[in-house]
């Protein structure tokens, strides 16, 4: 039996490259490994679309908060404790019976991390980046979202200067519900604008 049988499988080139960059940066005192772990834990476990769902549900039940959100989304969202990288310049775009908003980042994948977490794989794909702008109606249909011909679709291109959060329409038959009851109806996809919020029948 050769020694090779007992050795660790060499990792991929990208794994080695990350290890190289990290160890050099740590040696130079430019990053602290514990701080990196803390950051990863934050994005894996604590930041995600449930934050955005709280913002949306609150806007549905509290007209003052909704007005604040439309006027200064960054501040209104920060008041709920959701701040941080990629959340500095937020704009909320509201769906109505005649306007449906859809968010994309055509250049890379700018996305409002503090309220939605990190983007799903399809959001980062070339087909979505291109087709959300060129043919949003078909893209929405692929997500199972069919809009009437009288509904205008507005596509918002996120940048490092401005990130968008869609405020979906409050689902029918939820009048009088509390924010806590409404939150589970708010999905990540409804806040990107590829779907509508869930209705009480399809939760």
């Amino acid at each position: 039996m050769s020694n090779h049988d007992h050795q660790t499988e060499p990792p991929s080139e990208v794994e080695l490259k990350v290890k190289a960059l990290e160890s050099l940066l740590v040696e130079k005192g430019l990053v602290d490994p514990a701080a990196l772990d803390e950051l990863i834990d934050r994005y894996e476990n604590r930041v995600g679309p449930r934050n955005g769902a709280q913002v949306v549900a609150r806007a549905w039940v509290d007209p003052k908060f909704k007005a604040w959100l439309n006027e200064d989304a960054t501040a209104a969202i920060a008041s709920l404790g959701f701040t941080g990288r990629q959340g500095e310049h937020m704009k909320v775009v509201e769906n109505t019976p005649h306007i449906h908003n859809l968010v994309v980042c055509t250049l890379c994948s700018c996305y409002p991390w503090p309220v939605l977490g990190l983007p799903p794989v399809w959001y980062k794909s070339a087909p979505y980046r291109a087709r959300a702008v060129m043919d949003p109606r078909t893209v929405l249909e692929e997500f199972g979202t069919k809009l009437g011909a009288d509904v205008e679709i507005k596509v918002w291109d996120s940048t490092s200067e401005m990130r968008y959060l869609v405020l979906p329409e409050q689902p029918p038959r939820t009048e009088g519900w509390s924010a806590e009851e409404l939150e589970p109806l708010v999905t990540r996809n409804s806040m990107i604008g590829v779907e509508k919020a869930l209705t009480p029948d399809n939760t």
Binding site: Q7, V14, L39, A126, Y128, V194
Partner: protein, 124 residues
């Protein structure tokens, strides 16, 4: 571009349960860029420009880009920005990558991988 976004209703629903990072190295690469920017080594705008350039390069080379290669672009952008800003040197990166490779190759399976193993190998 006719390829559909892999988003049938079913995929969409299952994708909401997908892990944030597909592999640990993606998380490490992500955290490095965010931390270095927070510490002022580059602005976030410089970062998004570098990342967009990598994605655009892949597009020019007609690489299939379905979102699963995103952190490859992320890592290339990070390396280029570190070199551009003279934060790291390409010779050092190359040497260190080789040291890590040797460390893996000479560490018995199940043992923690340590860089010193790779460096010792190099000296011997």
């Amino acid at each position: 571009m006719n390829s559909t976004i892999t988003t049938s209703k079913q995929n969409t629903l299952s994708s909401s349960q997908e892990p944030v990072f597909a592999e640990p190295w993606e998380a490490q690469a992500f955290a490095l860029a965010v931390k270095l920017s927070e510490q002022g080594l580059f602005t976030w705008s410089e970062w998004t420009t570098a990342l967009a350039a990598e994605i655009s390069l892949a597009k020019d080379q007609e690489e299939p880009d379905f979102g699963d290669t995103y952190y490859h672009y992320w890592l290339s952008a990070l390396e280029k920005l570190l070199l551009e800003k003279s934060i790291l040197d390409s010779t050092d990166i190359k040497a260190r990558t080789e040291q890590w490779s040797r460390a893996y190759q000479t560490t018995p399976h199940g043992q923690p991988i340590e860089l010193s193993t790779g460096i010792k190998q190099q000296i011997i």
